[in-house]
């Protein structure tokens, strides 16, 4: 983590949020529920962090926390993308 710079992180965060705002403002209201559940799945990106902390966990407590974190994030990712797909499949034009 020595190479990670806080300021650079902040730049990345702010620019990503601005890009997100530009893209998401144009999502039509009709797709706001899939947008939310899809975004929800994306917030499951915590799975990356969960794997990293679980991999270096020492002792029962850290391992347990790591496994719970992985399980919760996976529910978010798998469930989120699947239910979003299920909804979007219903949007048809006749």
């Amino acid at each position: 983590m020595g190479e990670f710079d806080l300021m650079t992180g902040l730049y990345v965060f702010v620019l990503a949020a601005l890009a997100g705002r530009e893209v998401i403002t144009k999502v039509p209201p009709t797709l706001h529920t899939p947008l939310m559940s899809g975004a929800n799945a994306i917030s499951g990106i915590a799975i990356v962090g969960a794997i990293i902390v679980a991999a270096k966990a020492e002792g029962a407590l850290q391992v347990t926390l790591g496994v719970i974190a992985i399980a919760m994030a996976t529910i978010n990712v798998i469930g989120g993308f699947m239910v979003t797909d299920r909804m979007l499949a219903m949007f048809k034009k006749r």
């Binding site: 209201p29 990356v48 399980a71 299920r86 499949a89």
Partner: protein, 460 residues
């Protein structure tokens, strides 16, 4: 870190943005969601390659467990329960991010007043608040606890004090002042953060849950970003920021749809139905019609706009409504659906329910798109909606003053399908019911709709 792994993370971040961009049209949205899922897969693969994993057992146990639960939830959930599902998924996302921060704290003894220390506390705080707050939102939506606001004296002052206490504990954990075992102090900090999540959501009423779910969605993104700062991982920061922005935009739209400020939703204790005098409601004469009469009103005109509200979904009569629309179209009537921003229980909820009932998405219009058309509309059919068509919103004296409404009263004929004259969430009477061009079509939405289908078929 390996450059190829860094580039994979970058590709993943790009795909997240492109995937979200594809959500700008229903035609490309499904592919967009697929791209975002691919982005996630890439990020996970890069992480697994980057991290030296000595023991796979527990990691696989976690993934398998989460995968099974997530799959089952996604397949089994009813579309009417989407707000609950998103609520509980928010909880898990926030919880996972909080645990990442907590595990990092435990793995870094003697952390002191460093930037890592601050980011760990921030990640723990946001993640924990999201976790318990989302659970409370879920319980309210699911009816496991009262939907009315839970209010006590000096609530906001108490919450502010609690937040101050949490900040102080955080500072003590990092050894800024005071003394004590940093681990114990940290656990107390976690406890306070969890309690704060509960306290922030209980004063908010059931009707305001769309705002809360959107806001907590935003928090779950910020929690992921904070976790990214903790472990120094850029893809977490980027994805979290995207979700944070998305949740915030939806929150603002929901607030606008109800003409309330976020502060008013969060601290106002509004959204219940207690304490409003209802004695005058429903005491005035109305004109009513039966299914046969309504069929005649709808079947011989040029244009009909349907205004569905959440009552429609409660009665599970979306499919019958679609049949009414189909039959009218067969008769040459132009049928459109007007959807208010807060028609469902979460942003865009009603659109999903109608899509499920096979209504073509190009017939769904939002408030701004359709409001000017009502003046040229022959008949409006309002089903299970109330406050969102209440002209009292134009009256400066009303409790819903300024709330954007669908201007259905400008149509030549308004037909309102409703069980009784009882008020909606706002708890006030609706002048629309008593207007000269209004017909009340009383009855259970599902039965009435089925009768209406039969009667339209009977029309010559």
């Amino acid at each position: 870190m390996d450059t190829s792994i860094q580039l994979t993370y970058l590709l993943s971040a790009i795909l997240f943005v492109v995937g979200l961009k594809r959500l700008q049209s229903p035609a490309t949205a499904r592919k967009g969601n697929g791209l975002a899922a691919l982005a996630m897969l890439l990020a996970v693969i890069a992480t697994v390659l980057e991290t030296q994993i000595l023991d796979w057992t527990w990691i696989l146990v976690g993934v398998l467990l989460g995968g099974v639960i997530g799959t089952a939830a996604a397949r089994l959930v009813e579309m009417t329960s989407m707000p609950e599902l998103v609520g509980i998924f928010n909880a898990f996302g926030g919880g996972a991010s909080a645990l990442v921060a907590i595990a990092e704290f435990l793995a870094t003894p003697g952390i002191g007043a460093s930037t890592t220390g601050v980011t760990i506390l921030l990640g723990t705080l946001i993640g924990s608040v999201t976790f318990t707050g989302s659970f409370i939102a879920f319980a309210k939506l699911q009816g496991l606890m009262t939907g009315n606001p839970i209010i006590f004296p000096f609530q906001n002052a108490f919450n502010a004090l609690l937040l101050l206490a949490a900040v102080s504990l955080g500072a003590m954990t990092l050894g800024v002042f005071g003394s004590g075992d940093s681990q114990t102090l940290f656990y107390m900090f976690c406890g306070l953060a969890l309690i704060l999540g509960v306290l922030l959501v209980i004063p908010i009423g059931g009707a305001d849950m769309p705002v809360v779910v959107s806001l907590l969605n935003s928090y779950s993104g910020l929690a992921a970003s904070a976790a990214g700062f903790v472990i120094g991982n850029t893809v977490l920061i980027i994805s979290g920021a995207l979700v944070g922005a998305s949740g915030l935009i939806l929150t603002q739209l929901m607030c606008k749809g109800m003409n309330r400020s976020l502060a008013n939703v969060a601290f106002g204790g509004f959204g219940g139905t207690a304490g409003i005098d209802r004695s005058e409601i429903g005491q005035r004469p109305v004109q009513s019609a039966d299914a046969e009469g309504v069929a005649a009103e709808l079947g011989y005109v040029n244009s009909v706009v349907v205004v569905p509200g959440y009552g429609l979904a409660v009665a599970q009569s979306q499919h019958e409504l679609r049949k009414v629309g189909d039959l009218l179209e067969e008769r040459g009537v132009d049928v459109k659906y007007a959807i208010h921003p807060v028609a469902g229980r979460m942003p865009g909820h009603m659109n999903v329910l109608l899509a499920e009932a096979d209504v073509s998405y190009d017939k769904l219009y939002d408030l701004d798109e359709i409001n000017d058309d009502f003046g040229n509309t022959d008949a409006v059919l309002v089903v299970g909606a109330n406050d969102v068509v209440n002209p009292a919103a134009r009256d400066p004296q009303s409790v819903i003053t300024g709330m954007p409404i669908l201007d259905v009263d400008r149509a030549r004929r308004v037909i309102i399908m409703k069980r009784s004259l009882s008020p909606g969430f706002a708890g006030i009477d609706n002048d629309l019911f008593y207007m000269d061009n209004t017909l009340m079509f009383f009855g259970d939405a599902k039965e009435s709709m089925a009768e209406l289908v039969r009667e339209i078929r009977e029309l010559a």
